[in-house]
């Protein structure tokens, strides 16, 4: 399985990472070789096997939906690269 240049550009866009022309070629080779290697999974018969997302599913517990802290606005904003009053600032999104 090889991955095309178009596909690399598409997933880079989905991942929100800009990549340069020379990186695309390198990534094509690297990701294709990783994909070829993971193809070996097709040797395994997984008919009727439930996918496993977590080794300890029986420990996953529900909890009460209650507010247990607050007043964190200044903490949350303290690492922000740009803020104004109590808002994160980003380039204009809607004209």
């Amino acid at each position: 399985m090889t991955i095309s240049k178009d596909r690399i550009l598409k997933i880079a866009n989905l991942s929100k990472i800009s990549i340069s022309e020379d990186q695309i070629e390198k990534l094509e080779v690297e990701i294709s070789s990783i994909l070829n290697w993971v193809e070996t999974l097709n040797e395994v018969d997984t008919e009727n096997i439930e996918p496993m997302s977590n080794s300890l599913t029986n420990f996953l517990q529900m909890r009460e939906d209650i507010v247990n802290d607050g007043e964190k606005r200044s903490d949350i904003l303290s690492n922000s690269p740009a803020e104004d009053e109590s808002f994160f600032v980003v380039p204009k999104v809607i004209e």
Partner: protein, 493 residues
């Protein structure tokens, strides 16, 4: 100054209690040694002033008999654990200025037990790597070198700062995290003890997330006993982590009076067929012999799906990573590279903020989760994961522990494998299956190879049976040849 090279966690605990030295003297001695060891590049950030202040408080508590179980003992923290008010970078440019306003549960537990942070230790960027070469702060250097060679070697990864710091006596205990081998492989490469606890044993809250269904925190120490002491302080239920296990933390140090006679160890056939170095293979056979002599039954077992663990891991881990790392967008915290619109702000920030390995994994993960590929890759890998998990459960019906080498080779040179991702990934072939199954495992130094580099043996037990790891692990420490410390070749006089 105290000679910290000869100390370990439990001897320090005893000496502080007896008053052989004060916490302040101890902290000063470690600081001096860290300052002379900049060549190893282990610490991203140091917190010496706070450490000296804390040591004074600890000395007061020790005097007044109010000391916590690990009161006044210095510790190095992997730069993946959020520490309140102290820069936490995950060794990534994208977090180069991030100062958490909260404390991770594991570090909070350690500080509550009285431990004193010396600083934050380097790791592969976002814990993605097996050599600590992907850190934005540059490669960490292994304190070990081959006999008669000056070639610099990697300390393993991703917890390479942690393993190198403990091996070089720059802290008696370091925290680490293990997603596919990131505690055990660096421990094996540096002659230290690395424990990956059961998934759910230590809270993940406040640890920079890589692959949430696999990540687990654990200690790197000099001895098995220290590993038990450290786990005791780190573990425990935490309602801030929904995967934290609400089960009792036993007294792990109690393993010391146990007898191995009549217990059984499994040797997985499929691991015997792997490409292992001759020295490692011989060392494995030697270790089997030690257990036989102790009256342990050695059984050949099958883990038929383990040969698929590595490819399954390299679908599941990047998939989870691509999702976890979506949060680094240059808006709420971390680095921002300006753009003419929001989309280009995101794309430029992430292009400049992430290194090559992290980008490759995000792209790979995005691909296997994308429409049309999800079933063929991600779902398939999760099904294989279940089969691997079942293999282990089946094995533990007949054996108490499983014994394998930790790594296929000993430490390699800086720059040797970094350009070949698949070759780098193959380092984790013996450790990755354990993460997929959520099991606990430990790497213990088991000897030196023919060029004088440390080798590690891995023990694996059933879920939440860390105690047996210590019980079995002790025999390796007692049986192996004496492993001298690395010579202080890097020390700036």
């Amino acid at each position: 100054m105290i000679d910290v090279r000869v100390l370990d966690l439990s001897s320090i605990r005893d000496s502080l209690k007896k008053g052989d030295f004060t916490s302040k003297e101890l902290v000063k001695s470690y600081i001096e040694r860290i300052e002379g060891s900049s060549k190893l590049n282990t610490y991203n950030t140091t917190t010496f002033e706070q450490a000296l202040d804390r040591a004074e408080i600890s000395d007061g508590k020790i005097k007044k008999n109010e000391a916590g179980p690990l009161e006044g003992i210095p510790i190095g923290i992997k730069d993946l654990f959020c520490t309140q008010g102290v820069k936490t970078t995950a060794s990534s440019k994208i977090l180069e200025n991030f100062i958490p306003s909260y404390e991770s549960t594991v570090t909070e537990n350690l500080f509550k037990s009285g431990m004193i942070m010396l600083g934050k230790l380097s790791n592969d960027e976002f814990a993605m790597g097996s050599s600590n070469e992907t850190s934005a702060n540059g490669a960490v250097v292994n304190p070990w070198r081959s006999r008669n060679s000056e070639k610099e070697l990697v300390p393993g990864g991703s917890s390479g700062g942690s393993s190198a710091a403990v091996a070089a006596s720059l802290c008696p205990l370091a925290t680490a995290t293990d997603t596919g081998g990131s505690i055990r492989q660096p421990a094996a490469f540096t002659g230290t003890v690395g424990l990956k606890p059961t998934y759910g044993r230590c809270s993940r809250w406040g640890i920079v997330a890589f692959a949430s269904s696999l990540d687990q925190a654990g200690p790197i120490t000099k001895t098995v006993r220290d590993s038990a002491l450290a786990l005791q302080a780190m573990a425990g239920y935490d309602n801030k982590d929904s995967t934290s296990a609400n089960i009792e933390v036993e007294n792990f140090e109690n393993y010391r009076n146990s007898n191995l006679n009549g217990m059984s160890i499994g040797i997985p056939k499929e691991f015997e067929e792997l490409d292992l170095s001759l020295d490692i293979r011989q060392n494995w056979e030697e270790a089997i012999q030690w257990y036989k002599e102790a009256g342990v039954n050695i059984k050949s077992i099958n883990l038929p799906h383990c040969k698929y663990a590595l490819p399954a891991y390299y679908i599941i881990a990047p998939a989870e990573a691509s999702s976890n790392l979506a949060r680094y967008d240059g808006v709420k915290y971390g680095k921002r590279v300006p753009g003419e619109d929001l989309d280009s702000l995101y794309k430029r920030t992430r292009a400049e903020g992430f290194g090559d390995e992290v980008k490759r994994r995000i792209l790979m993960g995005t691909y296997v989760l994308s429409a049309g590929y999800y079933d063929a890759y991600y779902l398939k890998a999760q099904k294989v994961r279940r089969l691997i998990h079942e293999d282990f459960l089946e094995a533990f019906k007949t054996v108490d522990a499983i014994l394998t080498p930790t790594t296929p080779t000993t430490a390699f040179g800086i720059g040797e494998n970094i350009s070949d991702p698949l070759k780098m990934y193959s380092n984790d072939i013996l450790t990755v299956p354990v993460n997929l199954a959520g099991l606990p495992a430990i790497s213990i130094p088991s000897g030196l190879d023919s060029s004088g580099l440390p080798m590690g043996i891995q023990l694996i037990t059933n879920h939440f049976d860390e105690k047996s790891l210590f019980k079995f692990g002790r025999l390796i420490e007692e049986s192996r040849v004496n492993i001298e410390m690395p010579t202080d070749w890097w020390i700036k006089k």
